[in-house]
Symmetry: C2
Subunit: 561 residues, 2 copies
């Protein structure tokens, strides 16, 4: 058995190690065009900024160690340029010498990854303009920074762009993030990104939404980034992080089908249309387990698992990949945003019916010092209550809640199950009613009809149309400090006594700060003969939604991707 | 509808609030014998030590607030002394005046809780000897400490005892924990408690296992605790925390059945044999979802959920409680131990067949600064691989992994599902192969026959019987720093070349530090014609198991409870 693997980072290296564990007798050769294999690409932003000081730490393993431990024939600086499917051979160029040679295979695994997209704008190749894909890129940016960078412009407000922004700001560099869409972190719903933006700005970062670079010029001070908005940003460093494209050339040239976004098409065994050829990682198209749609998910976790599966199948096994649910996380300056499953945007786009609820709990018992607030949004099916997706943003404990919900989603649990989850509780770790339980209570209450809710957006629309009376049930002090325009004020603890002040025949939408008192008010109103709903997530959600809308502005020069 | 609730802390207060949300018209009266309702009893150790400085923070709510918000008739300092089931009335004693009166009910919820057990030893009532159940106890202990406490003895190494130990040590008090069993934290397996003990001792705490107080004497320096071991411990403060007993007197007098450990027997609707009377919280017997056995689980999370369910049913609903899986957590000095489901001890006792695996991963990517080690143990069914339980001990991220596994357990997931979990990954939050995925790989490999494993205990027994050759596959340096007695040394990277040095016909058990290289070695050996197994969790697990055994000693004056 002769197994060849093209690509030696997450998916490729996982496949190679797994293959050797499964078979001592297989010949296993792994080709990597770069000098390093199995490096920690997720650590690159932290190496650029110096949070990770030791470059060697990013080399999870080396070709030498892989040879010793796994008897792998590892060939770095080797670019595979052609697949001859009839003869079952590949053509490799040794980059150091330019020499071409061939190797034959019984099975072939393509783990070619994805390459950062470089927009074709003038100046994209100027010195000082970088992408960040591998250790050499990171080395170059670090070296460039030592020459004196006061201002940096990051094109793209995605995960890596934001991680890089944190690191550059920490290094004392004035940093501007330019994002052509109306929000950062595209996979999230816009309101969930607001705390991230506020954190970035509080730490001195600048964010420009709804605009993009149209040219980069060499300037006296270094570079100047010309934006579609007309603004011109001086900078000595520009890093382009506007998404990645699957490295599919090899596969395309070999006649394999690719999906809409360029991912190599594989079956659930991760096999291409050629039974001896498999493909894994950022280079392939995967099935979104929630929507069933084909998608592109460039994440390390799925790539690693796919590598294991392809290796097992290539050696005669029969294992299937279950699809991807898009669990992702980003943290900067102690603010964390994480998600799993579908976003509200995606559900709306795919015309899937859904409900959403918001809760804004503390990450552990409020009476124990250090409780940090979070916002948790859960999306689920009407009637059945099956989970469709979840997003959280806040400080500590955000990762935990999304991991919990990622498992629940994978298990096809419902919001009724979330009510019953028995999670760890001691004051420094959680609450007797964990944030995930709370979201379950709120969502299940909605489905049972016990706790009718309305989204902020719907409430504002109905209010504007005169079909709704909005009632702020918080204290006088809270109301005075800020409330939703057009709201009456009637504190929940006075509600029973003052029902007569409410308009008859009009639907009442109660709201409080986070939703809990609004719920109590809704129950009182419902049982007093009113048609009543609670504004989901209360004033805090209204703040997030309105801030997201205000930031997105009216001019969206590009569509949401 | 007239609903009476006996007990106003976790289960009772949850029931009362839920009942009001469901019904504006019900008359709801809640009786509490103490002065406070709905206080945060899980915070008491932190209030004693001063980590929580503000006493009011522990009052989650007050009778006044409950009256205002929920129109509840809350009666603190009121002890319910009798239930007359025929007349559907209860007799209440007003503790301030001694006055007795009656109230009638349509439905009654018993949320009487559990009381700390006070062993009947001489001196248990001396000044300076305390239990810690409520805020008044905490007040008394705080006041006592201000009189000058240099040395404290904590009877019982359970959750509260250890939390209190942390707090007293932080306050500069010499603290000794006395635990009559051979391990602290009874619900855990002994080896998983070793890092907790080491942490306690590293911070100056002292632990005495396998002994108990037989008397407490008044002494010139304050108190002296006489132990069954013969030792005599001087102390100015003794806190008794040797478990709790359900407060079942009211129920027993009313003719209700109680279980082996005294919990009130209820059906899955949390109803007693009297259809109008429900019981919840620490006072009841619950079903362990893993073993199906009746058990006693005094935890706040389940009590809160049960309160909600009983309220709904008392008002005509039909909701069932799913049982308890015993998810629990304790943290001291940054060391966290958490568990969910059954322990190995429990499975062995209930003669349930199971497998266990150990992994010792870092809580996030090793290349990102600050990674903390953890030990994760997963128990699962042979063949099906369904989860039975999990325990983790370490620093950051332990709570997250047990929460993830708690959901997986509840969803009846298997170890094959753990392989596929798609969890949050960025370097500061996890790893591309999360600790839970790793445990899944190891466990699934065992079931698939790809990764045969042997427990440390079995390996030592087989080694002693001459039926096994134990091979340490780590580096020379690691081997020299300490290894399992009787092991050969053959580094994994030299294994393929030196297979001839191994005995033929004898089963080979490989081990490394944590299990990963041992796995690679096992695969090499198996494919080279040897009968080979990997010692689960490697040298690190051996260290934990042998430390636990050594600490437990040979004299166990009391049986494991």
């Amino acid at each position: 058995m002769r197994l060849l693997i093209v690509g030696g980072v997450a998916g490729g290296a996982s496949a190679a190690a797994r293959a050797r564990r499964l078979s001592e007798s297989a010949e296993i050769v792994m080709f990597e065009q770069g000098p390093d294999v199995s490096f920690a690409n997720c650590g690159l932003p932290y190496f650029v900024g110096g949070a990770i000081a030791d470059r060697d730490k990013l080399l999870v393993t080396t070709p030498e160690r892989l040879r010793e431990r796994f008897r792998l024939d590892v060939r770095p600086r080797s670019r595979v340029e052609r697949i001859d499917r009839d003869r079952q051979t590949i053509s490799i160029r040794e980059l150091a010498t330019g020499r071409m040679y061939e190797e034959s295979y019984d099975a072939l695994i393509l783990a070619t990854g994805a390459a950062p997209f470089r927009p074709a704008i003038p100046g994209i190749d100027l010195p000082g303009v970088f992408i960040l894909r591998n250790l050499q890129d990171a080395d170059r940016i670090r070296e460039w920074i030592t020459r004196g960078v006061r201002q940096a412009v990051l094109l793209g407000g995605g995960f890596i762009g934001l991680e890089l922004a944190e690191n550059l700001l920490d290094a004392g560099i004035e940093t501007t993030v330019v994002e052509r869409n109306g929000q950062i972190l595209g996979p999230f719903d816009p309101e969930m990104t607001v705390p991230v933006v506020e954190t970035l700005e509080a730490r001195g970062g600048r964010l420009l939404l709804g605009t993009a670079a149209e040219a980069i010029h060499a300037d006296s001070g270094g570079l100047a980034v010309q934006l579609t908005s007309g603004a011109r940003l001086p900078a000595q460093l520009v890093v382009v992080g506007v998404g990645v494209r699957p490295e599919n050339q090899l596969a395309v040239a070999a006649g394999f089908e690719t999906g809409l976004r360029g991912g190599i098409v594989v079956n659930e065994r991760l096999q291409t249309s050629d039974p001896s050829i498999y493909a894994v990682g950022d280079a392939i198209e995967v099935v979104d387990v929630v929507t069933g749609a084909k998608t592109q998910v460039p994440l390390a976790g799925p790539a690693n698992r796919q590598g294991r599966i392809a290796a097992e199948n290539a050696l005669g096994g029969n294992v299937t990949y279950r699809g991807t649910q898009g669990t992702a996380i980003v943290g900067l300056f102690g603010c964390t945003a994480a998600m799993t499953g579908a976003s509200e945007k995606t559900l709306r786009r795919s015309q899937r019916s859904y409900h959403s609820v918001f809760v804004h709990p503390a990450h552990h018992a409020g009476y124990y010092p250090g409780a940090e607030p979070m916002t948790l949004k859960v999306l689920f099916e009407p009637v059945s209550g099956q989970l469709l997706g979840a997003q959280a943003v806040g400080g500590a404990g955000v990762d935990k809640r999304i991991d919990v919900l990622a498992v629940a989603l994978q298990a096809k649990m419902t919001v009724f199950d979330l009510e019953e989850l028995e999670l760890c509780y001691a004051p420094q770790f959680g609450s007797a009613k964990d944030p995930v339980n709370m979201a379950g209570f709120v969502a299940a209450g909605l489905l049972r009809g016990q706790h009718p809710q309305i989204s902020v957006t719907d409430a504002l629309r109905e209010l504007a149309a005169g079909r709704l009376c909005l009632v702020d049930v918080r204290t006088q002090k809270e109301f005075d400090a800020g409330h939703i325009p057009g709201a009456l004020h009637l504190p929940v603890d006075e509600l029973r006594m003052r029902l007569g002040e409410l308009p008859k025949g009009l639907r009442i939408a109660a709201y409080c700060q986070v939703g809990q008192r609004g719920y109590a008010a809704t129950r009182i109103l419902m049982q007093s003969g009113f048609s009543a709903v609670n504004v989901s997530g209360g004033f805090r959600t209204w703040q997030l939604v309105t801030a997201a809308t205000a930031r997105a502005g009216h001019s969206k020069p590009f569509v949401d991707s």
